[in-house]
Amino acid sequence: MPSTATNGAAPASPATPTQFAIVDASIARLGDLPGALLPILHDVQDQLGFVPEAADARIAAALNLSLAEVHGVVTFYHDFRRAPPGDHVLRICRAEACQAVGGERLEQHLAAHGLGAGATSADGRLTVEAVYCLGNCALGPSVQFDGELHGRVDERRLDQLLGAAGILPRGGCGCGRQGGCR
């Protein structure tokens, strides 16, 4: 499965009127909070899956900030995306406690499917992201799939998880990896 990078690398898509309406509603609802920028960005991303670059100017104007300030914040934080993610988002823990129980094998396994961290599958079904710790360090390797935490994940459980969401064919993908897809 070939993949395309999405985290910042993809060209920014122009925002649609619906997207602007969502951004404006977020501003209207949250703009009066002290330090409103992060709550607004989260709210926009929760609804759209990303923060359209075209939204920066609107948010800046509403909060009396410069465009550079808004842009700087969006790009500083790893969470904010500039392009829509796939239908499903898989976040794989890369931190030490998960490494201690072989967590890096999960990334290698997905790489065998052409899915590197920060990439979305060509069919748009799955975005893979790396995270540093999900707070499940006694039950690693850990992943978060569409916001839900999964522990003691090996290659087989990962395939089951993706299979159940219709991303990989149930029972593995036929990649023939030893100890992997079954």
Binding site: P34, G35, A36, L37, L38, P39, L41, H42, L63, E69, G72, V73, F76, Y77, H78, D79, F80, A95, E96, A97, C98, Q99, A100, V101, V131, Y132, C133, L134, G135, N136, C137, A138, L139, G140, S142, Q144, G147, E148, L149, H150, G151, R152
Partner: protein, 511 residues
């Protein structure tokens, strides 16, 4: 009669199937015409036994675990609702040695109560401290905390009483309490467990802190990686407001304190207190130079009491039982208990709240039971990604800020990550450098450039390229980072790198 069954909602339990178990129990009960009240409690912290369910019986709560959904039919056939015998039966929860040996002060209620039941909270001793605090003068409250010897659990171990005094004495029209729930360290989850299992304890601790220092507004800065904790805390704040525990008149006292929840956005450095304040203000998480201390000029320039979740969660116990009672527990200048988190390649991982002075060996062997893989323990990393890799020769060291510092180690937030003998410490040192390069806020050169250079130098060492010269270069670089960094990110990064190099030199190239 309705049977009460506890199935944790803690996300660690959920990560290994707790939701499916709860659903299976509801279905099995309905199928048999049994009446069951399902309580979604926090976790008891015996994480290797999750999902660990409990049944309330005449002789107390009986535990079963680890339970999978497909075990439920068999459990019902074994009369689980009345504590029946079954291979998964662990006996009375309170008598499980792993739990009974701990000293649970901050975690007394987690896993016991329904996290969102205000009545349950009060029935288990909640609000006793807040009521007492409302009857005390602010100075007296500060003295209770000072005399308890409580130190910051976020990493630095700074005495809480000094901070409280500073914020209390600062003159300002507005002061804040800012709770640091960024919990970015790998191997740590105690903040998360408390937030998901007993959030009112944190809110009570924050309210007491607000009363003591004269702050009327509190913020919790919670990492975005914890969506379940966010949901529980948000609901708890709403309940606390509805009950009048928070708001314009705390418990009818006419004194105000309210709490607002803010979510981080995936930047490790935002756990550093000044970067966190910047982030709360809606800016990039760039570290501020100190002075001024946040206690003098913090959030929006106002005096701000910044504390980790665990520090604030210790406060209700201290106020209820007195500072002296807390100070009577512990070792040296490390007073009270530390909620230790056993993580990584460990057979019996979970939350172990023990007095300071407990040795690493007790934690790793008596509690942890060695590695999950069954192989020998080779190293443990204590204190998160900036903490040292501790070799087995140092396992008799007691948990104690000063003892750890003297040995060149860090207690940090109490995370203990276990590695077996397959670990490559050269790779882990490189990982530490790469992590710092990725997460540095970029404000100062030693950290920003040094970590990138460190990755390059380590690559050469690991490839066996001019090992001696490059190792000397690495040590130089670490020296510059230790002494030239603005904050502890760059300042402490040499700790995992050099501890790995010093204690496990055989993992650093052959040259």
């Amino acid at each position: 009669m309705t049977a009460t069954v506890y199935v944790p909602r803690d996300s660690a339990a959920v990560s290994v199937g707790a939701h499916a178990v709860a659903a299976a129990i509801a279905a099995a009960a309905a199928g048999r015409g049994e009446r069951v009240r399902l309580v979604r409690n926090g976790s008891r912290g015996l994480l290797w036994l999750e999902p660990l369910i409990e049944v309330a019986t005449a002789s107390g709560r009986i535990a079963y675990g680890p339970v999978q959904a497909h075990d439920v039919e068999g459990l019902f056939a074994a009369d689980v609702l009345r504590g029946g015998a079954h291979p998964l039966r662990l006996g009375p929860t309170a008598e499980i040695g792993w739990l009974a040996r701990q000293q649970r002060l901050s975690f007394a209620r987690t896993g016991v109560v329904d996290p969102l039941s205000a009545d349950d909270y009060e029935a288990h001793g909640g609000l006793v401290a807040l009521r007492a605090a409302l009857a005390m003068a602010g100075d007296a409250l500060v003295e209770q905390v000072a005399s308890s010897g409580l130190r910051g659990r976020g990493g630095a171990g700074f005495p809480a009483g000094i901070k409280w005094r500073t914020v209390r004495q600062a003159q300002a029209d507005q002061k804040y309490v800012a709770c640091n729930a960024d919990e970015g360290d790998s191997g740590t989850f105690s903040d998360r467990m408390l937030l998901e299992g007993d959030p009112f304890t944190l809110l009570e601790g924050m309210a007491i802190a607000g009363l003591a220092v004269g702050a009327t507004v509190g913020y919790v800065y919670l990492r975005s990686e914890y969506p379940d904790a966010r949901a529980v805390l948000r609901a708890a704040i709403e309940t606390a407001r509805a009950r009048g525990w928070l708001g314009d008149s705390v418990l009818g006292s006419s004194r105000a304190f309210d709490v607002h929840l803010r979510i981080g956005a995936g930047a490790y450095i935002c756990g550093e207190e000044t970067a966190m304040l910047e982030s709360l203000e809606g800016k990039r998480g760039i570290v501020r130079a100190k002075p001024p201390l946040p206690a003098i000029a913090g959030l929006w320039g106002k005096p701000t009491l910044v504390h980790n979740v665990m520090t604030l969660a210790a406060v209700p116990w201290i106020v209820q039982h007195g500072g002296a009672a807390y100070a009577a527990i512990g070792s040296g200048r490390s007073r009270g208990t530390l909620p230790v988190q056993l993580a990584g390649n460990v057979a019996r991982g979970g939350l172990v709240e023990v007095p300071f002075g407990t040795t690493l060996r007790e934690l790793l062997v008596d509690y942890g039971g060695g590695t999950r893989s069954g192989r020998p323990i080779r190293a443990v990393q204590v204190g998160g990604p900036l903490g040292a890799y501790v070799p087995s020769s140092a396992f008799d060291l007691p948990l104690d800020y000063e003892a750890f510092a003297a040995a060149g180690f860090l207690v940090g937030h109490g995370g203990v990550v276990v590695f077996d003998d397959t670990v490559d410490l050269g790779r882990m040192a490189r990982f530490a450098m790469a992590f710092c390069a990725a997460e540095s806020c970029g404000k100062c050169t030693p950290c920003r450039i040094g970590s990138t250079r460190g990755v390059e130098v380590l690559d050469k060492i690991l490839a066996g390229e001019q090992r001696e010269a490059n190792t000397a270069l690495l040590r130089d670089l670490c020296d510059t980072m230790t002494h030239g960094s603005l904050c502890a990110m760059g300042g402490l990064l040499p700790m995992p790198v050099l501890s790995a190099l010093d204690h496990f030199p055989e993992d650093f190239g052959k040259g």
